[in-house]
């Protein structure tokens, strides 16, 4: 299997950081609050490791929006946050558009739209940097244990195999809402990604 070397990993982290900056900026516009982002984490892991990692990070019950993508990269993206905070996020998003008592009715749809915008902001940024295209399916919402969410949404990525895992944590400090965005790249994508990164590096003349 193809692995990324240190320079490729470093460049991917930097480029992913840019993409997530766009995603953070989109989220910030949506909720009219400052959004803080962590430094991206990039690693290779399999499904069991991944589920364990998400369990630890989220404390168990999560709500998530997932989107499959294809094109220059093949895989799955997830936006997740603790379920107890999801209504809070919806309230920030909709503000005066919906009466407070009706908020629950719109919870799932609002979170789908948040997920769609954030996930696509990150993907679009990567596609533009590499001068290529990535298309995404419609977003899917689910809620439950981390394992349930991953299982219910995972169609494209064969998680028995190793995946390239990219994660950024976000927080809306003022409202104490934390979550994370995860991109899982199918092994088939890694070769193509490595080639794109090499091409990008060669253009930089470094």
């Amino acid at each position: 299997m193809i692995e990324l070397d240190d320079l490729q990993k470093d460049m991917l982290t930097e480029l992913f950081n840019l993409g997530m900056g766009n995603a953070g900026s989109a989220l910030s516009e949506m909720v009219s609050e400052e959004v803080l982002l962590s430094i991206p984490e990039i690693s290779f892991m399999d499904k069991n490791e991944l589920t364990a990692l998400l369990e630890v990070d989220s404390g168990g019950h999560i709500s998530g929006v997932s989107q499959q993508f294809s094109g220059m990269l093949l895989g799955q993206a997830l936006l997740t946050f603790p379920t107890q905070k999801s209504l809070e996020l919806v309230r920030l998003l909709l503000q005066d558009s919906v009466p407070l008592e009706n908020l629950t009715e719109f919870e799932e749809e609002a979170l789908l739209e948040v997920g769609n915008i954030i996930i696509n902001a990150g993907l679009s940024s990567l596609a533009d940097i590499f001068d290529d295209e990535i298309s995404s399916d419609l977003p899917v919402f689910s809620s439950g244990s981390c394992q349930d969410v991953i299982k219910s949404q995972n169609k494209t990525v064969n998680t028995q195999q190793t995946v390239l895992y990219l994660q950024v944590n976000f927080s809306i400090e003022k409202e104490k809402i934390k979550g994370y965005v995860v991109y899982l790249l199918d092994v088939e994508s890694i070769e193509s990604l490595a080639a794109h990164i090499d091409n990008y590096i060669s253009k930089l003349n470094i």
Partner: protein
């Protein structure tokens, strides 16, 4: 220029449609607003005469928003048509521009919607 707004909003996200609608109504209380959740619903609609703007999402079940916008452009050549989308890739923007469709990135903000409404088709 007349200030009458007659807007068709097409988006599979009800929340997104609501947000666009709320901004339009706040600034143009007399605006005529028609909504659809996908291409099939749009093509089955009885659309009021004098459509000034079409605001169309890209990623929807069935026909995508760009193909739909291209179809609508044939029937509404003078209407200002905008693709309002989370897919903010240059490739998508170029495809839209090549078709004469305007491009605005999501998320929905007051500034972006007002900027669309300030423009007019030919």
């Amino acid at each position: 220029m007349s200030d009458e707004k007659n807007v068709l909003i097409i988006d599979d996200s009800r929340v997104s449609r609501m947000m666009v609608k709320a901004i339009i109504k706040q600034h143009f209380p007399d605006a005529i607003i028609t909504e659809a959740g996908n291409a099939d619903e749009t093509l089955a609609l009885d659309i009021p005469d004098g459509l000034t703007h079409i605001i169309c999402d890209y990623n929807m079940p069935g026909m995508d928003g760009l193909t739909l916008s291209q179809e609508l452009k044939k029937s509404y050549p003078t209407t200002y048509i905008t693709l309002l989308t989370a897919n903010i890739q240059a490739a998508t923007r170029h495809k839209a521009e090549d078709m004469g469709i305007h491009f605005t990135k999501k998320p929905v903000t007051e500034e972006r919607i007002l900027s669309i409404l300030a423009k007019q088709g030919h």
